[in-house]
Amino acid sequence: MEETKTISDLMYIGAGLAVGLAAMGAGIGLGIATKGFMEGAARQPELIDNLQSKFILGAALAEACGIYGLLVALILFFMR
């Protein structure tokens, strides 16, 4: 009984770590993507339309990695 309680407590920590670390990685990735887009747009403003759709695609892919962490956190929360 005591042991299962400890494990479920650790699961809360694991859920917090999962979403936090995943958000960190996704944030760094989004930052790099935005930096690249801004630099490209500043150098060649005529390419903005072309760059923008690719930037949005890349940003969505980077953001999805953060959401994987959220998914793992939810699984740890609700499937105990």
Binding site: A60, I67, L71
Partner: protein
């Protein structure tokens, strides 16, 4: 949120809420395409102009792919279905009480998105084999060729997995976000988040479509 109205047909588990909303989304797509393609003419009227601009979006996205026109049916139906399915989460269908679960977007069920991802997997494998024969996955007897063979086998698992989980998790996370905001303050606070979810609905449908195009394009293109 996250719960489903589970029923049984024989020994099969059926999520009725997903099934109902999926059929509503399908009906939207079918009615839309039926209405927009009446009275086609050389000189386009209003509805035909809309239909042509939607179609031009898909042919434009497929511009870099070999025989791109051939893939428009799959790409267009995937995009339109996912778009309507995602947008349905913002309709107040949750007011209708069910035994379990609620009527939200069908894409918040992983079975739905996994089915679409598996369809994409078989589609690009079929076109790869049709175009290049066994060389779609087999690159000859060399060290790099054998390593690439195992990488191709691994991609058959990871590609549909990431497609399915990305769409499912984004929509589910959006619903959880709106629900948390509703529980903080139900008046006016959730509105910006619901507007953001409408943006996410377009974005995720677009991402699913672009990744499908990338997979099909890499399957049918000539090797370097």
């Amino acid at each position: 949120m996250g719960e489903h109205w589970v029923g049984f047909i024989g020994s099969l588990h059926v999520h009725w809420d997903t099934l109902i909303t999926m059929w509503i989304a399908m009906a939207f797509v079918i009615i839309l395409s039926f209405v927009l393609t009446r009275n086609l003419n050389i000189k386009p009227d209003k509805t035909q102009t809309i239909a042509e601009s939607i179609l031009r979006f898909f042919t434009g996205s497929l511009a870099g792919v070999k025989n791109g026109e051939k893939h428009v049916p799959l790409i267009a139906s995937l995009f339109l279905f996912i778009l309507f399915a995602n947008l349905m989460g913002q309709l107040p269908l949750k007011l209708i009480r069910l035994q379990q679960g609620e009527l939200a977007s069908p894409t918040n069920d992983i079975n739905m998105t996994a089915a679409m991802a598996v369809i994409v997997l078989f589609y690009y494998l079929y076109h790869g084999f049709k175009e290049k024969g066994i060389h779609a996955i087999w690159h000859g007897f060399s060290v790099s060729g054998i390593i690439m063979f195992f990488v191709e086998l691994l991609e058959m698992i990871t590609r549909p997995l990431s497609l399915a989980i990305r769409l499912f998790a984004n929509i589910l996370a959006g619903e959880i976000l709106v629900m948390v905001m509703v529980s903080i303050c139900a008046i006016a606070l959730p509105i910006p988040f619901m507007l953001f979810e409408i943006f996410v609905a377009f974005l995720q449908a677009f991402v699913f479509m672009m990744l499908t195009i990338a997979y099909v394009s890499s399957a049918v293109s000539e090797e370097q």
